[in-house]
């Protein structure tokens, strides 16, 4: 079997490789990406603690996957539509989705937090792989519109085993859809390692479907950025769909309900901690002197403020109105639902009346 080498631009030693793309690496780019990652990590960590304090029902951490997300979303146009999975907080933040919108779903006050049209960023999809077909369909619309948008769709290694994910790969290849499938291969699907998920590397499977493929070190934000840019521009030029597999690691449990010590070792975690994507870029910044004290202090302050805002916004999220669930069942309206809303409102009011009377 042919072996594929992983594309790396910023090595684990914090130094740029001699790949030609190194020429495009500017101090500004590095600082921007570093800022995105640091802020994302802060929001993620705050959310984790908010869950522990009972303020959120659940949280799925993006910890460790910042480079894969930030590197990829910063490589496409802000106008390019994105179909995320559910752990893509760093990408969401890059699209201007704030803590309030990000946390609403996990606090249980709404089923989704933001306007997909406004941010060109779909709502999270919890049913694994379902969003990949939506992305392909959207890309078929792009084709029909004659637009040069490229659609980016995130998914996980585990999700790739779903039939629907594979239908999406095949469909995209068949209709030559302008879509980039971006897999964050974080080595685990809850407790299931990739070795029990597939029998051959995903990027190789993707090539078999006829997709252009890239295998990239997902903890190398510059590499992810360069590889995604390359893939996206080829798609934009009409080269047909692509799949990027970014090798990364889920540093936290699957979710705040998970206990990863049941299925993986501390040594494995240590191995990956040494490959932390934020530290790696920081090493480059330090080495080159591209991040001065003022920049770092400002970023610290910005992160602190964002952390405070995350806590505030979370706690301030209002409980939904009891009848909100009746509001958007069918856009055309439903007499069944209307009857139930009215009856339930009257029922609730009867308790208030009873309380009133009891006074």
């Amino acid at each position: 079997m042919e072996t594929t080498t992983t594309y790396v631009l910023l090595g684990t030693d914090g130094r740029l490789t001699d790949d030609p793309a190194a020429r495009d690496v500017t101090p500004e780019l590095c600082r921007d990406l570093y800022r995105d990652m640091v802020l994302a990590r802060r929001v993620d960590s705050e959310a984790y603690h908010l869950q522990r304090q009972g303020e959120l029902g659940l949280w799925l951490q993006s910890l460790g996957q910042e480079a894969a997300q930030v590197g990829s979303i910063r490589a496409i146009r802000d106008s390019d539509p994105v179909f995320p999975s559910y752990r893509d907080h760093a990408a969401a933040l890059c699209r201007g989705i704030g803590p309030e919108a990000l946390l609403a779903q996990w606090r249980g006050v709404r089923q989704s937090g933001w306007d997909p049209a406004e941010h060109r960023f779909g709502v999270y999809t919890l049913v694994l792989g379902a969003q990949l077909l939506h992305a392909v369909g959207y890309a078929m619309g792009v084709q029909r519109d004659g637009s040069d948008d490229v659609v980016l769709a995130y998914f996980g290694d585990g999700s790739s085993s779903e039939g629907e994910a594979n239908e999406a790969f095949n469909w995209a290849a068949t209709v030559h859809a302008p879509v980039v499938f971006f897999c964050q291969n974080n080595q685990w699907a809850i407790s299931t390692p990739t070795g029990r998920q597939f029998g051959a590397p995903l990027h190789r499977r993707a090539a078999g479907f006829g997709l252009a493929t890239e295998l990239v070190d997902g903890n190398d934000v510059l590499g992810v950025h360069a590889a995604t840019r390359r893939a996206v521009e080829a798609v934009r030029r009409g080269g047909g769909p692509a799949l990027i597999e970014a090798t990364t690691y889920r540093m936290a449990g699957h979710s705040t309900s998970d206990d990863p010590t049941r299925y993986r070792t501390a040594a494995e975690l240590d191995h990956w901690r040494a490959r932390d994507p934020v530290d790696r870029l920081r090493a480059l910044l330090d080495d080159r002197g591209w991040a001065d004290g003022a920049f770092l202090a400002d970023l610290d302050a910005e992160a602190d403020a964002l952390g405070a805002e995350t806590r505030r916004a979370c706690r301030a999220l209002p409980d939904p109105d009891p009848t909100a669930m009746f509001d958007h069942v069918l856009p055309g309206g439903s007499p069944t639902v209307d009857r139930q809303r009215d009856a339930y409102a009257a029922y609730l009011a009867s308790f208030e009346d009873a309380v009133e009377e009891a006074r």
């Binding site: 369909g137 029909r144 239908e167 095949n170 469909w171 055309g332």
Partner: protein, 322 residues
């Protein structure tokens, strides 16, 4: 215009494609072949392969990409080749198509129509004769309709395509070749039941493939001096319960007839609703006549499986005699 039910659908699709450039027709073999029932015959010739789209054999893919297309502003009309082949798309239909509008608090609307030839009566092999409307009617966030005449097939489909709702549109395949008038205007809204035959002694409530059977039963009963009313539900979800209730309040007796397996079928919903709402008016229990609770049998047995005139009359007689 007099035409077949199948042709009434074709012309509805033609009209939709012509009047709204965002409408797409997509499915397996809908292009050059015109679909296995020729319902999409000629459409690809007139509108090209980008608007009348032959898809890979992937039902989840059909519905999933339709959802994406709808998010981009298109109005896909999907065809599932046969009732028994919609299940691979069940996940996309129930968890995505039905829920995305609610999940996004109304920010995303998905005007997707899924056309499904449904029910038996054509001597088909297994998986080609399922009456599976109950699965979809029980799924909040979907509109489910079915037509029994060319008029309803044409206008319900046009109304379904124009609606912003996700609609599952069932076409009783044994009625594809039946003829009838199609008027220049719809005469009922998308979610209204239709009294197809007024009557005073008992109300038959039915839909899709069984409407004709119930009309035949009513005609036969007339010869025996019984005046049966026949109501075609048309909209299975939301259901026009006010119309159904009014009908049964008038006659005081009701029999629900559908082709799907009886247990857990939509007839239970109809009967339970009427038994509750018309409690004081009912002079006899609401009976249900449906398919048996067995997998749809081999073709040579389908005449036994599907409710027919005699089985309907048997229930009618027992209800009248109660």
């Amino acid at each position: 215009m007099t035409t077949t039910l199948s042709r009434a659908i074709t012309t509805a699709l033609h009209h939709a494609l012509e009047s709204d450039p965002s409408v797409l027709v997509m499915g397996q073999d809908v292009g050059a072949l015109g679909g296995v029932f020729r319902v999409t015959d000629g459409l690809q010739k007139d509108f090209g392969p980008e608007r009348v789209v032959d898809t890979p054999i992937a039902e989840a893919g059909i519905v999933g990409t339709a959802i994406g297309l709808a998010q981009r502003g298109y109005r896909p009309v999907c065809e599932i080749q046969f009732d028994g082949f919609v299940y691979p798309a069940f996940n996309q239909i129930t968890s995505q198509l039905a829920k995305i509008h609610a999940r996004t608090a109304g920010r995303i609307t998905l005007p997707v129509v899924i056309r499904i030839p449904v029910s038996g009566g054509i001597g088909a092999v297994e998986h080609h004769s399922e009456s599976n409307e109950a699965y979809f009617a029980h799924t909040a966030g979907l509109r489910v309709v079915t037509a029994a005449t060319p008029q309803d097939a044409h206008w319900l489909l046009r109304q379904a395509i124009e609606s912003e709702d996700p609609v599952v549109f069932f076409e009783p395949k044994c009625r594809y070749w039946s003829k009838g008038e199609v008027a220049d205007e719809p005469d009922l809204p998308l979610d209204a039941a239709r009294v197809v035959r007024p009557g005073t002694d008992l109300t038959l409530l039915t839909w899709g493939s069984m409407v004709e059977t119930c009309l035949a039963a009513a005609a036969a009963a007339e010869e025996e001096g019984h005046d049966l009313e026949v109501v075609d539900l048309r909209s299975l979800s939301p259901m026009d319960v006010d119309a159904l209730t009014a009908a049964v309040d008038r006659t005081g007796r009701a029999v629900v007839v559908h082709e799907a397996p009886t247990f857990g079928g939509l007839g239970g919903e109809v009967a339970a609703t009427l038994a509750e709402r018309c409690f004081d008016r009912l002079e006899a229990p609401v009976r249900r006549v449906g398919g048996f609770d067995v997998p749809y049998p081999a073709a040579r047995l389908e005449a036994h499986y599907r409710p027919d005139l005699d089985r309907v009359l048997d229930a009618v007689d027992r209800t009248l005699a109660y």
